[in-house]
Assembly symmetry: C2
Homo-oligomer: 350 residues x 2
């Protein structure tokens, strides 16, 4: 109980403390229990009698108690925070939105929060993970744009810090990931172009250095080799290129000899830019040429419904990543449970 023995200074011992935010002590005073007991009761420890647990819970709700995260964090070393490394490139057309939305969904109802560490300024991406681990800013990390020998993965694996990547690596140490099967996507998309009678598909691929870029190219090449047709991987541009550059490059390509007659675009903006470049040359989609693209939002369908697409559900991806990371943090070590390869949904009428 409070301590009325010192009447002199402001009696900030017992009840006066009840002015500010309610704390464990507030509940302890109200119920007449010890702080320890209250803490245990709220943690649903089995050693605390059911009756006491009930009463404590009741009072906690009554006075609107919520634990001080800073104190919990200090004591336990756990932050209850998930950090998402976001790259500026990932945002155009709401990549980030979808991913974040999915992660939020997975974390709902848990005590975890998302914190976004934008790589918007600064530094290599490995510095960001170092920063997070060194300052213990989070209990786990999520990031994408994974490279075959991704330094972030190496660092985090090394120290055993929980993480999930969007995309795979080629490292021998297995780790948690969620990936979209870009090989199958590219393979099927390219086959579709060929099935429509096109004889020289062009690939607008991912930026060099990322694992998924390799998968895209592999799928594309497999399809064209199978069909034995001509092909081209458009040089000088990639999915990260500004739309204007893609447009210019496509237009320019058509002034040269032996241009492609169809395009496999890894993204929606890329598809739009390609269409624009082509119509600059007086060519119309579905007529002189075709496009198949990956679709991650609903923009393309509304603007250019003639473009055929295969959908990648990034919100689901985010949700999977959140769920997997939670498992990993929870101590799951069985990698088979921590590795997800999502299959492209091929349209039924193909």
């Amino acid at each position: 109980m409070a301590d009325p023995s010192k009447p002199a200074r402001s009696e900030d011992n017992g009840l006066a403390a009840r002015r500010g935010k309610p704390t464990l002590r507030t509940i302890a005073e109200i119920t007449g229990l010890a702080v320890t007991t209250v803490s245990r009761a709220l943690a649903e420890a089995p050693q605390i009698s059911a009756e006491t647990r009930r009463r404590v819970r009741e009072v906690a709700i009554e006075i609107g108690y919520s634990p001080d995260r800073a104190a919990q964090r200090l004591k336990t070393g756990r932050t209850n925070v998930i950090a998402v490394l976001l790259d500026p490139h990932e945002e155009i057309l709401g990549y980030g939105t979808s991913i974040m939305s999915g992660i939020s969904k997975a974390l709902q109802g848990t005590s975890y929060h998302v914190i976004v560490m934008p790589n918007f300024l600064n530094t290599t991406n490995v510095e960001a993970v170092n920063y997070i681990t060194r300052n213990s800013m989070a209990d786990g990390v999520i990031f994408s744009r994974t490279e075959p020998l991704d330094p972030r993965v190496m660092v985090l694996s090394e120290i055993g810090f929980p993480f999930v990547t969007h995309g795979r690596t080629e490292l021998s140490t297995p780790h948690a990931y969620v990936d979209y099967d870009n090989f199958t996507f590219a393979y099927q998309a390219t086959r579709r172009l060929i099935a429509k009678g096109r004889r020289k598909p062009a690939l607008i691929s991912g930026p060099a250095g990322f694992t998924f870029t390799g998968h895209l190219q592999h799928g594309f090449m497999t399809a064209v080799r199978e069909a034995g047709c001509a092909y081209e991987i458009l040089s000088g541009i990639d999915l990260d290129s500004p739309a204007g550059n893609i447009r210019d490059r496509v237009r320019q390509r058509y002034t040269e000899a032996d241009p492609p007659d169809s395009f496999m675009c890894g993204g929606e903006v890329c598809a739009l830019a390609t269409i624009t470049g082509m119509s600059d040359c007086g060519l119309t989609l579905g007529n002189e040429y075709d496009i198949v693209a990956k679709q991650t939002s609903h923009l393309l369908g509304a603007i250019q419904p003639q473009v055929e697409t295969i959908y990648e559900d990034l919100t689901a991806t985010g949700e999977d990543m959140g769920r997997v990371l939670l498992q990993r943090i929870g101590g799951e070590t069985d990698v088979s449970k921590l590795q997800l390869l999502l299959s492209p949904q091929i349209p039924a009428n193909w």
Copy 2:
């Protein structure tokens, strides 16, 4: 470095503590100073001798010390965190990206971090700010989609919690904001349509309920009234509508009597959807109709350069919001320093 002196149990008194993360005590032990002094020295307190400060700083860097944010937070009550409330609507075409990028820039070099509270699931937006303030998750909040009588603003003003809005309110209590002058934007954009000889501009406006929607409409109306021409505010759709809906609505409108001959679009996706709807009807931009739009990325220019635009620099907006919030947190109460109205850059050739 480690300490091989105690092979038995870990005598976690002195040096053994040096195993884990370096702390103030680690530095204190190395330098022979008291923890208090080290803390003060790192805070550059003037009462600590320059020489001591130097030495402490040196050791701190040497051993890679960085303060435990949880402990600081617990002690001081300050979180060193800025919360950004993000709405899913705000993301298409990277609204969030730009804003976040700007905020990051403003916070760079400070001890502040950004945490994104997605409203992706749940609840009214006022619950999100309640959650943040109740759990003291941040020292300040940033949000947009401001309403004339925004409940978030009322709640936060009430309790004196620092915040900055993107957009103004019509509340009598002044508060920090950064806003784009949407009245002027809409006024000039509409005048431009009229100057090009159009006689019935249509406005595709913001969603009902937001302050900026009113500003857009006011600017639009002012321009058409001045010119004494016909006008229309397209019903049934707004800037939040899916692109497909906008497209459909525009096309449908053209099957009816007395259609508009030009459009004032508050966003890029909206402009693209409008163009698509119009070409569905066989009409081409710059020929049978014109569009003026607000531009916040570089997509539109690459895809449809014929659309005339006025630019809104969202990265700069984010940076301003970050800076203003920092001032507000720092105790600035002079609202004139906390309120920014950004002027649209009207193209020189208009």
